[in-house]
Symmetry: C2
Subunit: 204 residues, 2 copies
């Protein structure tokens, strides 16, 4: 790998950490330079501005979920099992990749403005597409209720998965519990899978 590419990657890694932690405004260019081991000058040489570096981080982070969701496409299973797998996959991904969660939250607080700026068109949404397909199939096969509103349900599933990770602190306060462990995660994943399946599967 070329030296410049190595430096770019080091900068991106440090920037991701900084931006995920403190956001665009809170992160400091000097910190990013120091943490990356690169010189501040190179940040401007390669990325142009703090804001453009932020967008580059955003794209990098989004590309990871797209990559990760590809593995959902391989296996053929019945539609109930497919729903289970998609939810499980989402939980595992979000658990393993806290930076993704944080960057999405920043983006929501920024009214999605930097995601809009981004070149990356629709890296987003393999799992959404898959859910659509599976839900349609399930209905056709008579396994899922016809009255299910597919689009609303996809939103529900996504929010169920994401918000467990995004609202972990305030939810912990409200419920007076800790949510950080693996055990709580598994329990939660099963719980929401139950809720979703109970809602869509006919006559159990």
């Amino acid at each position: 790998m070329k030296r410049s590419e190595i430096t770019k990657q080091k900068i991106l890694a440090a920037a991701e950490k900084a931006f995920a932690e403190k956001g665009l405004y809170g992160a400091r260019v000097d910190d990013i330079a120091e943490q990356s081991g690169a010189n501040k000058r190179m940040i401007y040489a390669y990325f142009g501005s703090k804001e453009k570096l932020y967008v580059a981080v955003l794209e990098r982070v989004y590309s990871r979920i797209a990559e990760s969701e590809k593995e959902l496409l391989n296996k053929e299973t019945d539609c109930v099992e497919a729903i289970r797998r998609i939810i499980r996959h989402s939980f595992d991904f979000l658990y393993e990749d806290p930076s993704f969660v944080k960057m999405v939250m920043w983006e929501n607080l920024n009214q999605g403005q930097f995601l809009k700026e981004s070149e990356a068109p629709q890296a987003k949404g393999i799992s959404v597409e898959l859910l659509r397909k599976v839900l349609r199939q399930g209905i056709e096969q008579g396994i899922f209720r016809e009255s299910v509103d597919i689009e609303e349900l996809i939103v529900s599933i996504n929010m169920f998965c994401f918000s467990y990770f995004s609202n972990i602190y305030t939810m912990g306060q409200i419920m007076q519990t800790e949510f950080s462990g693996r055990a709580e995660l598994d329990k939660r994943c099963e719980h929401i899978t139950d809720i979703i399946l109970q809602y869509i599967v006919k006559e159990q």
Copy 2:
């Protein structure tokens, strides 16, 4: 009202707007002073520091939800209707009070550190308490399934309500739709009420 009290309130109002919009790091003390019409000196006289002002805003914002949820306590209804009302109330509150949503999101990104600092003990949680009571009653009365995990379900309900407002931008991108209107809101509220009731109510 004393002059000092008026100034305090003007500062708090401007600070809430600024902090909700841009967070602790992004907001500027000079802007808050200008927007409030008060002098910057008074911010430090009354609140001590930018950070303490932020905490004061956080408390103010949290006190509103506590106040709002009091009205849930009056009416006596059956437990199914109570669940409907609590969800509806939550949706309406979050819709009317976007600053609350944003401040909670900032707090989650700050790892809940300023909420911890806050003096305000448990202004949080009237609806949580009420949900506990209603769910227990429903189970005792044989209307709700005994196997329902009350604590998990409360988390689910809260997340369903909150995340619709907190993730509106990225969700809009993923689903390629707009979510901002009243109509979408009502539809969503009904949808999640359906999901929750389907999950907890016995033999429909």
